[in-house]
Symmetry: C2
Subunit: 471 residues, 2 copies
């Protein structure tokens, strides 16, 4: 680390710790130079760096002032992926990410797990306990092919909030959102088919494309507005695309919520080109706004949207309770569910149904939304403090994931490997691109507790990025 970077870090910490508060005037260049025994130009460089990070603002003829806490890093620009269908790569990176779950000591900054330590989940434990205490045969026998009725009833109610009116037999319970997306994709597409995806896009879905022999066509995506409908239209004119996978609400990894008019425009486009829409709504209920945003499915008049979701992010991943509302593809999706998983575990379905019915789910959700929003502000603060000039950051509208864009020179794949020695696991941006782009980006999980251990991990990560830039 150079002298000016060192000084900038010290000052940033003082601001973060509140020693210098929002609106405070900072010491003069001369005063700092004397205090730290460095040259005038070093102080000037440090101040310029903090200014670029929007931590301080210059006032003509008055010096530097601590920026309002509302100051945020700039948002990344629209993505510019490869403009042709490609076979998905990057399984090795994804597998390392998943393998890390074996080691409880690892700090999984790159993971996608929600916080399952909150007291709001106590009633869920109670319900699971009740099912096993009463030895409910529904926990041991073969489940219905569609999944438990009591659960589908609750899901039908939840879906109303997203604008979807679903009958019980429109809903099929699956092994998590993974099971839903897999059954949907297998039902609609054949090997060799082209599927359009947002870019960047959730690595899990892209690994499905890889496994099933589909090709991914990455579409430019804006971190605020979502997928570029214009670019998608051009792509549909050029390629025989079978469907498009979208996380329109609380996008993974970008955090945006597509505005309603763009959702409708997208649906119109899909109708015109007769393609299917795989809508991944797994983060939809974690939107910070109230009421929750509408799904694409809510405007679906001809059953071309396959709505896929799960309680993985809103309750807990280990339950493996997801669902699909497959529209016109229902019979094939049901067959695909049957052949890939048979049926689904009973005990967790029953417990979740009671958890929702008793009102605990909505209480828990309200709490988690606030918690994640608060966490995200903290993490954004740490990124501002520890990361170099030129860092861009998303401003998510829900969920708990941040997307960080670093200067082009930084290679997060290499940095990730280096951080393994500290048991810090990061998700390089490249696993969110079919072709392995976005190596200078990373995804951060803000559902992790806000303790000193995680702050330190962010700091180490920031230092590694600084070093990569200096090298």
């Amino acid at each position: 680390m150079t002298r000016y970077e060192h000084l900038a870090t010290i000052l940033a910490q003082r601001i973060e710790q509140g020693l210098y508060r929002s609106g405070d005037r900072l010491p003069s260049v001369r005063a700092l130079s004397q205090e730290h025994g460095v040259s005038i130009s070093t102080v000037q460089q440090a101040y310029q760096c903090l200014e670029a990070r929007q931590l301080i603002v210059p006032q003509p003829r008055s010096g530097y002032f601590v920026a309002s806490r509302k100051a945020q890093l700039p948002v990344p620009a629209m993505s510019r992926p490869v403009q042709r269908p490609v076979e998905v790569t990057q399984w090795d990176q994804v597998q390392s990410l998943l393998d890390a779950r074996r080691d409880e000591e690892i700090i999984a900054l790159g993971g996608g797990a929600p916080d399952i330590s909150q007291p709001g989940l106590k009633p869920l434990w109670r319900e699971m306990n009740r099912v096993t205490q009463h030895q409910h045969p529904g926990a041991l026998c073969y489940d219905e092919l569609y999944g438990k009725v009591v659960l589908r009833q609750q899901i039908a109610r939840l879906m109303l909030d997203s604008g979807v009116h679903a009958a019980l037999d429109d809903i099929i319970i699956t092994n998590g959102c993974h099971g839903a997306l897999a059954a949907g994709l297998l039902a609609v597409c054949q090997p060799g088919d082209i599927v359009a995806v947002e870019s960047p896009s959730f690595h899990g879905t892209m690994q499905m494309l890889r496994a099933f022999g589909f090709r991914a066509l990455e579409i430019p995506t804006d971190p605020v507005q979502g997928i570029s409908i214009e670019a998608l239209e051009l792509a549909l004119e050029q390629w025989p695309v079978k469907g498009v996978i979208l996380v329109a609400n609380c996008n993974n990894p970008l955090g945006f919520i597509m505005p309603d008019h763009r959702k409708r425009a997208l649906l119109t486009l899909a109708q015109r080109h007769d393609i299917a829409i795989f809508e991944d709504d797994v983060y939809g209920e974690l939107a910070f706004e109230y009421p929750r945003p509408r799904t694409l499915k809510s405007w679906d008049v001809d059953g071309r949207v396959l709505l896929c979701s799960a309680f993985t992010k809103t309750i807990a991943p280990g339950l493996r309770v997801g669902w699909i509302i497959p529209g016109r593809y229902r019979d094939k999706v049901l067959h695909m569910k049957y052949v890939t998983t048979g049926t689904i575990v009973g005990v967790t379905q029953m417990a979740v149904a009671e958890f929702i019915r008793g009102g605990h789910y909505h209480r828990h959700l309200r709490r988690m939304r606030h918690l994640y929003q608060h966490n995200m502000e903290k993490y954004a603060g740490w990124v501002r403090e520890y990361f170099p000039c030129g860092t861009c950051l998303t401003r998510p509208k829900g969920g708990f994931l941040l997307w960080v864009e670093l200067p082009e020179k930084v290679d997060m794949v290499q940095i990730s490997r280096g951080l393994e020695q500290y048991k810090i696991l990061t998700a390089a941006g490249s696993m969110f691109s079919a072709a392995g782009k976005y190596r200078h980006c990373l995804r951060l999980n803000c559902a992790l507790p806000l303790d000193a251990r995680h702050q330190r991990a962010l700091k180490l990560l920031g230092e590694a990025v600084h070093q990569a830039l200096a090298a």
Copy 2:
């Protein structure tokens, strides 16, 4: 129940319990009349009833004697399926079978569910209860990609009994045996590929072939010796077969255990033609013989056998705990598991691991083997009693499934439809053939309780068959 029926039931029970043994002379009509305080004609009617059920035989001028227990129906001959690859049909029939799970009043003679009402499962409930009582985080967090270590340790031990030495990372936990077979098939085969199957063969596996676009090549199979190795060899010379699916131990639906020398011969053949073997061992631990039979996998020297199994039949289907030991295909199978299901439910994995570790699994298994063997004798007796001449019946070496071959003229698909009005669900043989053969056959589930309701269902089924023959 009339008086004579009541008396017949008492006598049948005494025979069943061994109070009267095979060849014993039964009490005279007069003696019984006095013992039970009923009329001579009531005793005569009771004896006639037992005679019709082949439980007793009259000897002229000597009275009645207990019939030899060895009297059995003939075994069906080697099957003769279509000798070319076909696309699997019959999904509508399979779906009706699965849909019946919605209705608890239905008597599922055609299903494949084990008996989950036995007290041997109490410790399992206790373990599930303990996990939820202690709020074990392993029940809610993302599972490891391979599945829980504690469970894989227990499975590795169980597999030793089948002759398989597996390291922990050779074992991947799946969503039931379905999840194992699906991941295995998807990892090895491409759409259009040909997969050889026993004929008849489990309908679930064949529906996988249908869904994934593979073609099935049915191989003649003997109800005692298993798949014809000679016929398979001819098929391999003629067709580019990718692999063969086998239930070598306690076959579904035929009940045979392939003799060891035939298992080894099959493996040699697979090596010579370089094909994969998908070994479905889900009934293997329910063999009536002790120690349990060896798996094909136990002789697998070059990793071409993908051993698929689950606790679905030995403990309970609703747990959805299965596993695959995929040999050389491990990395691809792991990827396929990830994309089709993500990870697997935690709570049932943990409970099963403890159930085995505490010795409850083996105790339960011993009990269930005896129970199923006893049930099967009863069901075989009912078939003998209620079904027409010309009926052939398998003599299973384990599991709880009987395969009944009726005279060619009988159409079980039609009879099945007719029995729906009585809420009796049967599995016509045609769903066990890719091309829809075996319409004159059916599979019977002997894990159902041996009560009057199920006996009556068998009787009604027998009457329907008689009527079909008379028509």
